[in-house]
């Protein structure tokens, strides 16, 4: 038995995972329209490679990775690009982002991998490949972290300055309602294990630990069997069910006893962590040359048929909600779980690589919290905080806008898991206060940078003026020097002035002669009458507009 460690805090909210695990993963039917965002990953948006009207094939690259931290975006099926433009997406800001609208032709016609334009290869024998080439294939396949952070996989696989001792596959899935990883592990364990082997090869990692919470016995059994069959020295480790035990830093702590230092990455302590679905998609990309075109998404909550579906990326939420047969009193949808999920502004919003779960919500399912009371400093929030913070103090500082204090009390170590809000007997939306404080601090830092920049520019400008003044003075001095040495030209200044005046007068005359008479001169009587009529009408409209404006003001 492996020794497991603990992190402080954590909560045990009702799991509600049973409804969506009653039947296996089903394939969602082809939607009538796909909206594919060019930014489905952390980092820079992919650069559009297609134009409206283009016909695309399934798997065709439509967004080229743009920048170091970026990833590729593909056509999820064959069809026609109807538009490239800003569309509403799932983002806390509610702002739209650049998307390709794809009308499927229903033929599901794949790209040919042999074609050089696809830049994807099939059937990598990864053991005999250059890791850099494998990483490039992952980048071009759009493989990103499917646990929710959607960080480009190729970046996480780059060799660092420290050897990776432990590769962790995260199959904890700690948040209530979500079961997509559970079902994936039950049904596609072999592919996940193969993917893990590929990730391990690229990382040159030592041991591989697959962490799964003990509320998923079937997934554990399936993964154990797959590991045994593969003959690989991986270990499936059963970890206690606790929220947020699936958060990377917390899972690393449980499995290895190591704490990722504040502000550092897991690789700094020799650990790298991937979601099981990421390992699966890495396998598909490397073994089959298949870019990430779909993912498993749970539809659950206030629905008649909670289930997991393999959904094409870009499918509108509405289509998935229809598959789950959302109940009539559903009044909103959440993307993600009930602890950290995002309420969606509309069901037009497309499902993307970060979408693991859609919860149909109603007031009955998630009763609105009672109005907040003052904090009574009961410490329940501190007891459950997995980052060992003192949320009641951070709340106090955020509320009173003492941001420097909030920062000193490690505000930025908050992982926004919501455990504190969950237990707060005063029902204070603590996480929102922390998000507010963080964004305020970031904005201030940006302002500070802008101010510093402006000050530098101003100082340089002053310096430049000073320098120019000095240069001018020097030049003048030099010219005076020269003037003194060479005698002045013997021209009469008054004559020169007179000549200039004469020339100007001549130019003015020429211009007057060249100009044509206006076409409003020499009008007939009828034309004049028409003009008068138009002017009167215009005056009348002007009056009306004026009075309407005044009316509005009243």
């Amino acid at each position: 038995m492996r020794t497991l460690y603990q992190f402080n805090g954590g909560i045990h909210p009702p799991e509600n995972k049973e409804p969506s695990t009653q039947s296996g993963i089903a394939r969602a039917p082809l939607p009538s329209k796909l909206v594919i965002p060019f930014r489905q990953h952390a980092g820079a948006a992919a650069k559009p490679m297609v134009r409206a009207g283009d016909r695309v094939l399934k798997g065709q690259l439509i967004g080229m990775p743009d920048g170091f931290i970026s990833s590729a975006v593909h056509a999820s099926t064959s069809g026609t690009i109807a538009a490239i433009g800003a569309q509403p997406i799932a983002h806390p800001s509610g702002l739209p982002d650049l998307c390709a609208t794809l009308i499927p032709d229903g033929r599901e016609e794949w790209i040919t991998h042999a074609a050089p334009s696809t830049s994807l290869r099939t059937g990598f024998d990864y053991r005999n490949s250059d890791p850099a080439e494998l990483r490039q294939q992952l980048r071009m396949s759009g493989v990103v972290g499917l646990g929710g952070a959607v960080f480009p996989g190729d970046i996480k696989l780059r060799p660092g300055n420290r050897k990776i001792d432990t590769l962790i596959l995260n199959g904890a899935e700690c948040e209530p309602y979500i079961t997509c990883d559970d079902m994936l592990m039950r049904e596609r364990a072999t592919e996940i294990v193969q993917g893990a082997a590929m990730l391990r090869f690229m990382l040159e990692a030592g041991e591989v630990l697959i962490g799964i919470e003990d509320n998923k016995p079937q997934a554990i059994a399936a993964m154990r069997q797959a590991v045994t069959e593969s003959g690989l020295p991986f270990e499936v480790v059963v970890v206690p069910t606790i929220y947020p035990g699936g958060s990377a830093k917390q899972l690393i702590r449980v499995l290895t006893g190591l704490e990722v230092p504040s502000g550092k990455l897991p690789t700094d302590i020799g650990v790298q962590c991937f979601n099981v679905a990421t390992a699966y998609s890495a396998y598909r990309a490397l073994a089959h040359g298949e870019p990430v075109l779909s993912r498993i998404i749970t539809i659950t909550g206030n629905v008649r048929r909670a289930q997991n579906f393999e959904v094409l990326l870009g499918t509108p939420v509405r289509d998935l909600a229809a598959l789950g047969e959302a109940l009539p009193d559903t009044d909103r949808y959440l993307m993600g779980g009930p602890m950290m999920g995002l309420p969606l502004a509309s069901t037009d919003i497309p499902l993307v690589k970060a979408s693991n779960c859609i919860i149909a919500a109603s007031d009955k399912l998630f009763p609105p919290a009672p109005p907040a009371l003052p904090c009574i400093r009961c410490m329940r929030c501190a007891e459950v905080c997995p980052a060992d913070l003192q949320p009641m103090d951070l709340f106090w500082f955020s509320q009173s806008k003492e941001f420097d204090k909030a920062q000193r009390f490690s505000l930025f170590d908050c992982i926004e898991c919501g455990a504190c809000s969950y237990v707060c007997p005063s029902h204070i939306p603590l996480v929102q206060y922390f998000q507010f404080a963080k964004s305020e601090i970031r904005a201030r830092e940006q302002d500070q940078q802008a101010a510093d920049h402006a000050r530098e520019r101003h100082e340089f400008r002053e310096y430049r003026f000073e320098r120019e003044k000095q240069e001018k003075a020097e030049k003048l001095a030099a010219r005076e020097q020269a003037a003194k040495q060479a005698p002045a030209p013997s021209a009469n200044p008054a004559d020169a002035m007179q000549q200039k005046i004469q020339a100007a007068i001549a130019r003015a005359r020429e211009q007057a002669a060249a100009s044509q008479p206006k076409n409003t001169e020499n009008l007939t009587a009828q034309q004049r009458a028409e003009i008068a009529e138009i002017e009167a009408r215009r005056a009348h409209i002007h009056e009306l507009a004026k009075s309407a404006g005044e009316h509005k003001k009243e």
Binding site: E259, V260, K264, A369, R377, A382, P425
Partner: protein
Amino acid sequence: MSALFSPFISKPDTVSRIMLRVLLALLPGIALYVWHFGPAILVSIALASLTALGTEALMLKLRNRPVMHFIGDNSALLTGWLLALSIPPLAPWWLVVVGTAFAIAIAKHLYGGLGNNPFNPAMIGYAVLIISFPAQMTHWLTPHGLGPIELGFLEQLKYIFLGALPPNVTLDAVTMATPLDTLKTRLHLDESVGQIFEMPIYGRLAGQGSEMVSLGFLLGGLYLLAARIITWHIPAAFLGTLFTAAGIFHLADPTHYAAPLFHWFSGAAMLGAFFILTDPVTGPTTNKGKLIFAAGAGLLTYLIRAFGSFPDGMAFATLLMNICVPLIVLYTQPPVFGKKEKRP
């Protein structure tokens, strides 16, 4: 309105329910109080409750706060009950009213109301009363079977509200000094602890009757621990320090210093350990801080009891330690995940 942000689920716990359970936890102690001293304490509790709710409503109104939103949080009720349990049941009616009104209006609302008061309101109320009305604060009832005469409930009510005693009954006949007070006075008369404890007002551990009430509060306190409303830190550190301090002096000079268990079950020690010092608003928010805070209170309580001019020290110890809370909290911040070094 439906929630616009995560988390969308929450534990069905409220401030009001927490306070209610603390009130419930006081019931065993109150029941034993009634059993040993008669129902006069219930009158005090009723008076304190009415005054607390009335003052709370008035202050909320004056502060333009939604009265109905706050009045149900049960916090004012708890303040009233704790104060009522700290003062003599046979005190005139206005004593508990003045004390409770001061606690709620001045100690709580003038500092910003629920969650913002730096001092324990009930203990402020107690301090005001013991300084302003020391005579009335000594009317402690004699437990059943000890006094020459016992007042009936109606006679008690008559005294509380009208100040009238039955003919031929003096106040001294129905009241007495507390066991702690008696100990202190008699020690000054050069009697030994052993001699003093032979008096009939002393029972097995401490005062006859009052030791049972303390036991009741201990029971209620254990319930609070089991229900995870309080943690072990404050009761353990307070009772531990009180025990240790009393134990050292007792071992050194048993004729002048009472045994540690006497201190545990006398006065407000048990009430303080589980119900007063554990007030989250006025206590520290770190576990280490709680230990320091409660240990300080335990030591101060013992020092006031043994060497101070007041028979019990719970209230002043609490208030003095309340002052230290911000400093204690600042220097006892636990290390953050991934940060080995301590915070500011």
